[in-house]
Amino acid sequence: MAAVQTTSERALNKVAIISVLIVTIIFLAPIYWIVSTSFKPRNLATTVPPTIVFEPEISPFVKLTLRRSQLREQPTPEEYAAAPWWERLVFDGGEKIVRSGRGEVQLSGYPSRFVNSLIIAITSTVLAVAMGTFTAYGFSRFKMPGEQDWLFFILSTRMLPPVVVAIPMFLMYRAVGLNDTHVGLIILYTAFNLSFSVWLMKGFIDEIPKEYEEAALVDGYTRMEAFFKVVLPEAATGIAATAVFCFITAWNEYAFALIMTRRDAQTAPPFIPSQVGSGLPDWTVIASGTFLFLLPVAIFTFLLRNHLLRGMSFGAIRK
């Protein structure tokens, strides 16, 4: 290994760094676009050329979360003065906040869609990872007839593009009353992710030496206890990675959510574009909804980043 870099190596290094930077910028540009648009005043969102420097405001988020309607007539100065600051932002945009008979503000459709997304994605992730881990452990540790065939069968459920079964699924769901329910989507997403979870977890569990469990067994634990006390902590890395992937799949799923849900269980992905609706779309509101929608996955991945980097201590077994 050359301890001292030659000139050509240094030049090559610079080229590499610059290429990585360019690629990174290309990938981050749409995200920057969404984030910046979600803080823009409405009139700056669609300017040509695009506005890069502007005074950020949070009116898009207010408009995103509260029910509002077009102003028919300008608010009186008294009304304007009496309104809280966030209501004035809406007034400034030529809209007003819809209030109930008792004067309470009402939430727009977005918050409940966002909560739906959270409930459905988290529950289906927990289910898929838990079931996947148990199944993978079974396949990894015990011999069973037709083991390879079963594993192939599990994988084969992913070989079809999911949308192909959308119509039959819709009809079946309608027959059993699962359309537009949380449970319906949770079952669907769990089923999507399960095969992936089984295969990924099997890889991770195969790597955990059997001796750990055997040591726990002779130390006086049952197999179940050994699984929870020894295998699970060792598999934490794999569980984290699998959970991130399952969560992203369930969180971002669009097609089935669009077909299977309308109101009660609708998730954010089909709702956000539906805001475009008729008339002049307010792109700042759509961008702010998208921006908030990006956050959970980013936070989840950030929290589990150490596990994802697989830096775990696989060092106490000597080979």
Partner: protein
């Protein structure tokens, strides 16, 4: 901890391959048994069967007279040290040692006391807060032994516990294991393929080959009176010389002739008493019983040295007689180099005779 382990007619198949063949052994309380054999001979499988990690297809495993072959390993109250140590990487040394005690629902204070006591005995008290990945090989091994001993199990099983260490550390840990056994006195079964380990540690050595028990005995018994050719060649370093011979008479004295050689070694009848002569015979003779001399004499045969291995304290010299090579152990520098003529004699007292077909020793057990 006065536990007796008895194995009766153990049979074990892996598919169509029988890995333990009709295995019988009684291990006395406090005894240190070493199971010795090549890899794949069934010794580890036998050990795992005692622990309950492997089921057996037939036979009985009795611990203190109670059959345990149907019990789960957690119910057998046996501890095991693995070759890989198998320390749980997500726990500290303290937690690793406390782990078996937590299974017994022992009180916190008692656990703490027991862990600290065992750490003191093993001199690992200052490592208790560390993670296994931060330990050296020797310390990992001490922790693994500590984890096994802390519960005061009925018996200790060790599967090549020092096989993964380097040579110097292995010697040191060997002495330590011996010291611990003397102190704790737990019934121990130890598996290894290293005959030096076996000789130095064992009260009795159990030699296995191809799933079959070959010989059980004290180390010196196994060394001096190998029951068959396999044991003879497996125990002892360098390996015992084995040569095909004819037993004949010359000048009215009994003579041992290496096949391919004109002349033979005169053996007194005393050395051959009890030897059946009707079967094809192989002679087994350890290098220290092959005597070399520089001066010609009547009872010595002429031979040529073909190879010298200087080992410091002694040399191993290969000599060729007829078509066969014998290895001799000499004082260092006794033979200057290859191609020299030396005079060879064998010590009849240390000669072994084996049936060439069955491999069994032809001398009746003494």
């Amino acid at each position: 901890m006065t536990t007796e382990i008895e194995l009766r007619n153990i049979q074990k198949w892996f598919g169509s391959n029988q890995v333990i063949k009709d295995f019988n052994l009684t291990i006395a309380p406090h005894e240190f048994i070493v199971m010795l054999g090549q890899s794949g001979c069934g010794k580890t499988t036998t050990l795992r069967a005692i622990a309950g990690l492997e089921t057996i297809d037939d036979g009985d495993i009795l611990i203190d007279g109670e059959p345990v072959q149907h019990l789960k390993c957690s119910d057998r109250d046996i501890a095991m040290v693995f070759q890989s140590f198998s320390l749980y990487p997500h726990m500290t040394v303290y937690e690793n040692i406390a782990f078996p005690l937590r299974a017994t629902r022992m009180g916190k204070a008692d656990i703490d006391k027991a862990v600290k006591e065992i750490a003191r005995i093993l001199q690992i008290s200052d490592l208790l807060d560390k993670r296994p990945s931060a330990l050296s090989g020797g310390d990992m091994q001490r922790v693994a032994i500590g984890r096994a001993l802390v519960r005061q199990p009925k018996a200790m099983l060790m599967d090549e516990p020092i096989g993964a260490l380097d040579a110097k550390l292995r010697e040191q840990m060997r002495a330590e294991i011996k010291r611990l056994h003397v102190k704790q006195g737990s019934t121990t079964v130890y598996v290894t393929h290293d005959q030096v380990e076996a000789m130095s540690l064992a009260d009795r050595i159990v030699i296995m080959h191809d799933g079959k028990l070959q010989q059980v005995g004290r180390p010196e018994e196994v060394y001096l009176h190998p029951a068959n050719l396999f044991v003879a060649q497996f125990v002892g370093s360098p390996v015992m010389n084995v040569a095909d011979i004819d037993i004949g008479t010359a000048d009215s004295a009994t003579e041992i002739r290496l096949q391919g050689s004109e002349k033979g070694f005169a053996f007194g009848d005393a050395a051959l008493t009890g030897i059946r002569r009707d079967a094809p015979v192989a002679l087994g003779i350890r290098p220290e019983a092959v005597l070399l001399s520089h001066s010609k004499s009547n009872d010595h045969l002429s031979a040529v040295t073909t190879n010298i291995e200087p080992l410091g304290s002694h040399d191993i010299v290969d000599v060729k007689i007829g078509g066969q090579t014998l290895r001799a152990r000499t004082e260092s520098g006794f033979v200057a180099g290859e191609g020299q003529e030396v005079w060879v004699n064998l010590d009849p007292e240390q000669a072994h005779f084996f049936d060439r077909e069955s491999g069994l020793s032809l001398r009746k057990a003494q």
